[in-house]
Amino acid sequence: MVARRGWPVVVHPLPPLLHNQPHLIADEVRGLATALLLTHERVAVAYADCGTYGALDAVCAELGIRMLPGLHCYDLFAGESRLAAYLDDEPGTYLFTDFLVRSFERTVVRELGLDRWPELAEDYFRHYTRVVWLAQEPTDDLRARAEAAAARMALPLTVVETGDGRLERALEALLA
């Protein structure tokens, strides 16, 4: 997106698996942002709350920098009210994003130990009733992978093409 829009921005990623240990996110962001502030004019955090339950907000306020709105990436792809409606309609909704579809083996299967203990699928997904894929760029390859991943969870898949326009606008606002 940065390249597409030609933004004068350097992206410094943190490991996405931090989302599974969200209590570590705020400190990791503080460390990286503090270092970057020494060498860059401006730093912005392309994280939503992401399960830090306000801790990331506090770090950003402390450092005088800004972050993305919303609770998590799902809000930024689907929009808060639409996402709330999906979960309201069926509380047992599990969400996919393109990232999750692409990294399913690593971020879901391996992280949740389903490679070592397949029987745990029952403990994890017992109460889920469907997968909703918030698709940004649904290629044929990704579609096939999303189908396979949902099948692995034994859940029906609904595809909602959200695109990434919302995220793009949120980033634009962040950089303004």
């Binding site: 599974n20 240990q21 709350d49 399960g51 339950y53 609770l71 709330a84 979960l87 309201d88 509380p91 047992g92 992280e111 949740l112 130990g113 389903l114 070592r116 203990w117 745990l120 403990d123 994890y124 109460h127 889920y128």
Partner: protein
Amino acid sequence: MSDPNEILKGLYDETLVGNAPRVLELTEEGLAAGMEPQSLLFEALIPSLEEVGARFERGDFFVPEMLIAGRAMAGAMERLRPLLAETGVETVGTFLMGTVKGDVHDIGKNLVNIMLEGAGFEVIDLGVQVAPEKFIAAIEEHKPDIVGFSAFLTTTMPMFKANMNALEKAGLRDQVIVMVGGAPVTQEYADAVGADGYAADASACVKRAKDLIEQKRAKVPA
């Protein structure tokens, strides 16, 4: 194997790595060797699950390791439950538990339940997505000492307050101790919704639950 110490050590080690079949075997061996169910529970199974919790806190274990150990312990509990009941040990109290409406995260809740049961509580689990009306009906039916609300999403935490309001409205607030928990919950949040107790993990929950019941019983003349 029939040396009690070896059985206890085996039970502890195999629970730690979540080897459910072996844990069940060792439980059988212990019972066959005449060991007390309480001894298997308090000297091996519970300490092992406490260690699992400690490793999780330290970041050495993640969710699957915790789950697999919890499963192993739950298997042994199945076997021990009727025997423990037979020994006529009085239950510590009744704990009604559920994940709040709109939320289906239940791993943490289930672990808390296992530890509570191990510690001598009678646990009634209402499952996930429990609406306020359902909590109320179950409280009226079972008259538990404590009701526990579990929540994991920013969007479902407000259900704590909704449940508290429902309790007030049903005139039950004074009759039951309320505990809340779940990954995003803090002591401050628990205080803000007017809960009586909060705990960050399963062992802490057992301890806090016992304290709260003791305090309540001390206040009410028998």
